[in-house]
Amino acid sequence: MTEMNRREFLARSVLGGMAATATLATPAPAFAASAGAKGTLIDLSLCEGCGACVSACSAKNADRYPEPVDDIPVNWPTGKYEDWSDMREATDRLTPYNWIYVEQVEVDGTRVSVPRRCMHCDNPACANLCPFGAQEKTVDGAVVIDHEACLGGAKCRSVCPWSIPQRQAGVGVYMDLAPGLLGGGVMYKCDMCADLVANGGQPACTATCPTGAMRFGDLDEIRITAQARAAEIGGFVYGAEENGGTSTIYVSPVPFDEIDAQIAKRRGAMPEPPRVGVPHMAGVAEHYLDETKDLASTFALAPVLGMAAAGVAAAKAFKKGETR
């Protein structure tokens, strides 16, 4: 602080602080919320469990199903890997070869059929927390896994409240890196037929549904329709509030916790963890990223405080230098 006088120092400090604050206060223009999100209404009072949606999904996506190597590498040090290639025909749960299935439960003597697939959350923790940026949420609201970039760490499945994505080993980019040591395959799930939707179409499942139980449209309208339908039949809604809101809204004549209780029995009978592929229907009140949302505001504050502290420290150093 030998060549700077006090006025020059103060001007520099104030201007620096203002510039930095202005930078922080300006939102980045590249980021914008989606206004055109699409959604699916699944009306369980109309679903007959025919499975047409399951067949349609398979017909649409079969050429994207994994084709693993014959000799699938065993993961070190767990000694495990997840292989569904011998169970390609399984349609009673989610697998890498079956991205939608119909859960059949009985509630008070009434059979209820529940088509299950990715909920396509408004703020998907799976896509947000992928450590390789291999998932995204599109402007249409579809949550899409990039099969070319996925390493199969299955973090998306861990952070998904419903554990939707399913892993197939022996396929994907990890096979070119250090198979057995790094990664574990590729994650697969419903992508809302993002390619069809992007071109103004609708997913294969909703397009095929013969009873009108599955309907596709603008998410805002779907939500209104779902509430109206629930009121009409004295029913219940699932998916509108869960995990901070999703694009898949269920309407049911029976309470969802009763459906969930039936699903829980099936999950409990599964041999060992991970007990995934048969998603629950319990309420998901908290969003996975709620806490980080609150913390994010400190990211604007921290640098401002840092600069202010530096200003004070520099002023002190200046004073010390001046009186020396």
Binding site: S13, A20, F31, P77, D122, P131, L295, A296, G306
Partner: protein, 224 residues
């Protein structure tokens, strides 16, 4: 020279504060960042007694955010202080690569060490490497934070790229930290350790190894 202290001030409190805050934040970020990869379960780290939390993405993500806020504070403080108080001695200068080679040769017993300012050429380069990597990891991390916010959509390609930059620059930071520790394998560098603790170094060491800086200090003392 009787009556003069045997040590001189090298790192004032502002530098030590920046350094240790960045160090604590970086340590927290490396640990919590590794846990995001996700490796705790994959490599059975979470099965080690006391390390179960490494597999809890909820906990480690919050830790990552707290540590990142601390890093933002420390970096803003460090940069702003350097600008306000005009402390630029640690920035790289022309010829630093060549001079670094000379210094390392000298430490290995070949040739003479060139006279140095407050920081050796290799120290200025190391600062630029760690500082540059830190800025990259911060910038790409902020994109990832924005993406986590409700209602914020970022194009998949941009996200993939930001994530790649984040992962690579984080690895560069780790390389930098390892190199920083490795510097103290050389005995000649160890005299600097007290400077980051209580701020002072041995006067003779400064006069010998940082002769240009020492001469400047002597000059300003005489002027005062």
């Amino acid at each position: 020279m009787s009556g003069r202290r045997a040590t001189i001030e090298r790192q004032p409190i502002e530098n030590r504060l920046s350094h240790w805050l960045v160090a604590i934040a970086t340590f927290g970020l490396i640990v919590s960042g590794m846990a995001q990869m996700p490796m705790a379960q994959r490599y059975k780290i979470a099965e080690v007694p006391g390390l179960a939390w490494t597999a809890d993405f909820h906990f480690t993500l919050s830790l990552h955010y707290y540590a990142a806020a601390l890093l933002l504070f420390a970096v803003a403080y460090h940069v702003a202080y350097a600008l306000f108080a005009r402390r630029f001695a640690i920035l790289p200068r022309r010829g630093d690569f060549k001079e670094s080679a000379q210094i390392i040769s000298a430490m290995l017993g070949r040739g003479e060490e060139p006279p140095s300012h407050k920081y050796l050429a290799e120290q200025r380069l190391a600062y630029a490497f760690i500082g540059g990597s830190t800025l990259l990891v911060l910038a790409s991390g902020l994109v990832k934070v924005a993406k986590n916010l409700d209602g914020v959509l970022i194009d998949g390609g941009i996200l993939w790229f930001a994530t790649l930059v984040h992962n690579i620059s984080a690895m560069l930071v780790i390389v930098g930290v390892v190199g920083h520790f490795a510097a103290f394998l050389f005995k000649a560098n160890r005299a600097l350790l007290p400077a980051m603790m209580h701020g002072r170094v041995d006067r003779e060491y400064a006069a010998e190894r940082h002769s240009l800086w020492y001469a400047e200090l002597e000059e300003s003392d005489r002027a005062a």
